[in-house]
């Protein structure tokens, strides 16, 4: 992250922007310190979503050892 921050700072300087600062510890350190951010936050999957993945989802019917597996790709609409 820190390398990315330094790289982004260099890029910004090359583009003629100022003032520019590299974040020590990167973006993660900024957020961990509780500083404000703008825009949509990007969060890790919650426990519920993670549980879905861990269980292979609940959209499954039948024996996991069945000889035939059908995957239906659908969009409800």
């Amino acid at each position: 992250m820190e390398h990315q921050s330094a790289g982004a700072a260099l890029l910004a300087l090359e583009q003629g922007l100022s003032p520019v600062a590299a974040l020590q510890g990167g973006w993660a350190a900024w957020q961990q310190a509780g500083y404000p951010v703008e825009g949509k936050s990007v969060t890790a999957p919650t426990a519920t979503a993670a549980a879905w993945l861990a269980a292979g989802g609940v959209a499954v019917l039948g024996d996991p050892d069945a000889p035939v597996t059908i995957l239906e790709f659908s969009d409800f609409q």
Binding site: P45, T46, T48, A49, A51, W52, L53, G57, V58, A59, V60, L61, G62, D63, P64, D65, A66, P67, V68, T69, I70, L71, E72, F73, S74, D75, F76, Q77
Partner: protein, 148 residues
């Protein structure tokens, strides 16, 4: 699949011959497909995935043209009708917490060559489009017989 799946269920799923998995593949051209997929998963988080799955398919004409704020309200109503916690469903849908797992399904589909819905991968073989039960029967029987 509203008419076909119950027949496949009775003949092949309940008898242990077929495992059936729904993967979400919301198309960008369908404005409410993503939020519907999220609503189904959020219902699933309360143990009501298949009930909501059926309700969404049965009432597609009602919710498909709605604006997003309205469609969430509609899905909350479906959840309540099904005995689920409507407020929890709303919070779940609005959080977008299942977005990543839905994107994973889309990625899997794209890797398999899926371009539209519905599409089916039956023992790894891709079939695009909706088929009557008889076609599924034929394909499943061929797969059970070990035919490619």
């Amino acid at each position: 699949m509203l008419q076909t799946l119950p027949k496949i269920d009775e003949t092949y799923i309940q008898t242990g011959l077929v495992r059936y998995v729904v993967k979400d593949f919301p198309l960008p051209s369908h404005a409410n497909a993503q939020v519907a997929a999220e609503a189904a998963r959020c219902a699933g988080a309360q143990g009501g995935y298949w009930a909501m799955h059926g309700r969404l398919l049965e009432n597609q004409k009602e919710w498909a043209p709605q604006a997003q704020a309205d469609v969430i309200r509609t899905f909350v109503g479906y959840a309540q009708d099904l005995g689920l916690d409507g407020d929890a469903l709303r919070q779940c849908v609005e959080s977008g917490q299942f977005g990543e797992s839905i994107r994973q399904d889309q990625w899997q589909g794209q890797q398999a060559g899926v371009q539209g819905t519905p599409s089916f991968l039956i023992n790894g073989q891709l079939f695009a489009g909706a088929y009557p039960y008889e076609s599924f029967e034929e394909i499943i029987e061929a797969a059970l017989a070990g035919e490619p």
